[in-house]
């Protein structure tokens, strides 16, 4: 009897100790210079609460990292928290009951009132329950231009896609590749998405991506986009790089004129010590239609049988959305905060443009929220085939794009 009591007491002490300092393994794919800097801000904030952040970074981008995370979760050895993009990537994990319900954390911290735009919280919500903590907003709709490259070619820096296309020959004559594009399929498909939203307009884009209307793909608005995408393929000839940050580096050192890439590219410019407005320029929506998609990252928390870890997971979820962490993390990463009530202390010109668009509500849901990963993979394959097969015409790719949209769910 006495022994049992002692044992129970000992267990209680150990249990209480664990609740105060818990090691949480957090998996993510933030490994480039700017990204790693941002994730260290999260780790610092978490360590400051007396817990320990165990970094589980996976190099190689989301396509490499997601399968590793999923196989660990299915295999019964889940990390305490993991990063996915907003949207449908975790759909099936939630349906299978593998992820923790965060509704109580969301209600206690009034996420419904603070998360802006509200579509981010909707993307985390399944059957009225919240399953993820959105951490930042990233939008694809940016074109980054090098002032040095345009100065060398002796033409003014373009302010929209039409001007960019018109000045491209001048850049080529000066030995500069007008458009830097990495060889990975998600970059090419992503750039196409940006051009579609900017050149075909919001209505056509939503009809294709949200309503899966294949007739719009074959319509005149999208025909224009496919032709522009064909032209973009010509503009990118001559620069063979794979990763997006290598392409960004080409814009930074002026060997390429511009890059269509999400706002995460800004972290690379910042790391290189470049200043927006003097060293590089940014055009939201290619300068044609300033609308941003609100993709980005969210943290999910796998179900855990250990109550100490469960408590720590909820604590971390609340911490990620706290104003201080939102400011320090998003300033380092170049992304936008998910709450409208915080001030980013050091915003540059480009981030300010993004914040203004966000405040004005000029946003659409991200492609990853609307299309299933299966459809995204098919589109990636199609676009990268087009990009590297000079004999493939825009009309051919348009037809196949329509077929994929028609069969999408």
């Amino acid at each position: 009897m006495k022994l049992t009591t002692k044992l129970l007491a000992a267990t209680a002490i150990v249990g209480a100790g664990a609740a105060h300092a818990t090691d949480l393994e957090v998996m993510h794919w933030w490994t480039s210079g700017g990204e790693a800097n941002a994730v260290s801000k999260l780790a610092e904030a978490w360590d400051a609460t007396g817990n320990k952040w165990i970094d589980g970074a996976i190099a190689g981008g989301g396509d490499t990292a997601r399968p590793i995370m999923v196989s660990r979760i299915i295999g019964g050895d889940p990390p305490a928290a993991f990063q996915f993009n907003h949207g449908r990537q975790a759909e099936e994990l939630i349906q299978a009951g593998l992820l923790m319900d965060l509704t109580d954390v969301a209600e206690a911290n009034h996420w419904k009132d603070i998360v802006n735009p509200p579509s981010l919280l909707d993307a985390c919500t399944v059957d009225g329950k919240v399953y993820c903590a959105p951490i930042n907003i990233h939008s694809w709709q940016w074109m980054w231009l090098s002032d040095a490259a345009y100065a060398k070619a002796g033409v003014p820096v373009p302010t929209n896609w039409e001007e960019f296309a018109a000045t491209a020959p001048a850049l080529q004559a000066a030995g500069i590749t007008p458009l830097a594009m990495g060889g990975q399929s998600w970059q090419q498909n992503g750039a196409f998405g940006v051009m579609a939203l900017a050149l075909a307009g919001q209505d056509a884009w939503l009809k294709v991506n949200k309503d899966k209307d294949a007739t719009v793909v074959m319509g005149p608005e999208y025909t224009k986009v496919f032709e522009a995408f064909g032209a973009a393929r010509e503009f990118s000839a001559g620069l063979n790089v794979q990763d997006w940050n290598q392409a960004t580096a080409a814009v930074i050192d002026g060997t390429a004129g511009a890059q269509i890439m999400g706002d995460w590219a800004q972290g690379e410019f910042a790391m290189a010590g470049k200043v927006a407005g003097t060293d590089y320029e940014c055009l939201p929506g290619l300068g044609d239609a300033a609308i941003l998609d609100t993709g980005g990252d969210a943290f999910y928390f796998p179900v855990n049988s250990d109550p100490a870890i469960t408590a720590a997971q909820k604590e971390l979820a609340a911490l990620l959305l706290s104003p201080a962490v939102q400011v320090s993390f998003n300033s380092a990463k170049g992304s936008l905060p998910i709450r409208g009530d915080v001030d980013l202390t050091t915003v540059n010109e480009c981030t300010q443009k993004g914040l203004d668009l966000l405040a004005a509500g000029k946003v659409v849901p991200a492609g990853t929220e609307l299309l299933s990963p299966d459809t995204v993979t098919q589109l990636n394959d199609l676009m990268t085939e087009f990009w590297s097969t000079p004999t493939m015409t825009p009309a051919e790719v348009q037809k196949q794009y329509a077929d994929i949209i028609a069969s999408a769910t």
């Binding site: 997601r66 399968p67 994990l93 060889g183 794979q242 990963p373 993979t377 394959d381 990009w387 590297s388």
Partner: protein, 312 residues
């Protein structure tokens, strides 16, 4: 295989001398018990896993396996996919070139080493060394060597041939040969060692007899030695074949399937469908097709190899 062939006549003799045939199931009980774990692994993991995969290839499983039957829809989509067709073509090109290339180079090297040259051990080590590296390392090394800005092309241009052009990894029509170079570099060493062992197993008297008859060295190799090395070639063929079908990590390290989809291979298609696209059903359908292809090639071969002997 050779052991089994030698074993058979001995069994026949002992059965005949003892008069009645003992049940084969209870011979050597200890060795049978010892092999139970292996039999269990083979049946449950290999066979069970295969059957499971084939069954689920007829479902619409996404990220997690689920039994929603969709009939042949996954196969239908597979065979209308450009990427799958390209993958199959690429594997065909790589397979044929790799098979012929490996056998030719490995045998030539082995025959040269067999001529009792000086420093044989050194050469053998050098040739076998690449095999000690993983495909990821091999792929990365060759990606650097074939990179036009810092590799072979850069060096040759630096030596004065400024028009020299060798950039296979960025050229969709020859990218498979860029992979082939790395594959051969890695794979020939092992096959060479197997061949060398085979050559050393040839009786010295054969050579003496050939010399007495005045047959030239090259002719002796082609007409006498190679036919005698049939079991060695079969082993090599199986090893090379297995390496071809599972070609995946080399592609991931060297090109990631690029430029575009021009160096995609079936194993990579399976991985992308299952984990990138979160579409297990599609991945299972593709891996089932890989299995079917292997079986189609293996059955006639096995029939010729083993079936013929039993009748004779």
């Amino acid at each position: 295989m050779t052991i089994a062939e030698q074993g058979r006549p001995a069994q026949g003799r002992s059965a005949a001398s003892s008069g009645k045939r003992p049940s084969r199931l209870f011979r050597n009980p200890m060795s049978k018990i010892a092999s139970i774990p292996m039999i269990f692994t083979a049946v449950v993991i290999f066979l069970g896993g295969t059957v499971w995969t084939v069954i689920y290839s007829f479902t619409s499983s996404g990220l997690l396996p689920r039994l929603n039957w969709v009939g042949l829809a996954q196969y239908d989509r597979l065979w209308t996919s450009r990427k799958w067709i390209v993958s199959i073509e690429n594997l065909g090109i790589y397979g044929i070139c790799s098979l012929i290339g490996t056998l030719l180079i490995a045998f030539t090297l082995a025959a040269l080493l067999d001529r009792k040259i000086r420093g044989e051990d050194t050469f053998r080590t050098i040739f076998l060394y690449p095999f000690a590296l993983s495909f990821i390392v091999t792929g990365l090394v060759w990606q650097w060597i074939l990179n036009p800005e810092l590799g072979l092309q850069h060096i040759v241009r630096g030596l004065g041939w400024t028009t020299f052009n060798f950039d296979p990894l960025n050229n969709p029509s020859i990218v498979m040969y860029g992979l082939l170079i790395a594959g051969l570099w890695q794979g020939t060493g092992l096959i060479m060692c197997i061949m060398l062992a085979g050559l050393r197993g040839i009786d010295e008297d054969i050579w003496k007899a050939a010399r007495v008859d005045g047959i030239g060295t090259v002719k002796t190799y082609i007409r006498i030695i190679i036919p005698m090395m049939r079991p060695v070639f079969v082993t090599s063929l199986v090893l090379i074949g297995a390496g071809i079908v599972k070609l995946y990590d080399l592609v991931v390290a060297q090109t990631s399937g690029g430029p575009g989809i021009s160096s995609e291979v079936p194993a990579k298609y399976v991985m992308t469908a299952m984990f990138g696209g979160q579409n297990l059903g599609q991945g299972f359908a593709a891996s089932t097709m890989m299995l079917v292809t292997v079986v189609i090639i293996l059955i006639p071969w096995a029939y010729l190899e083993f079936g013929g002997k039993k009748r004779g």
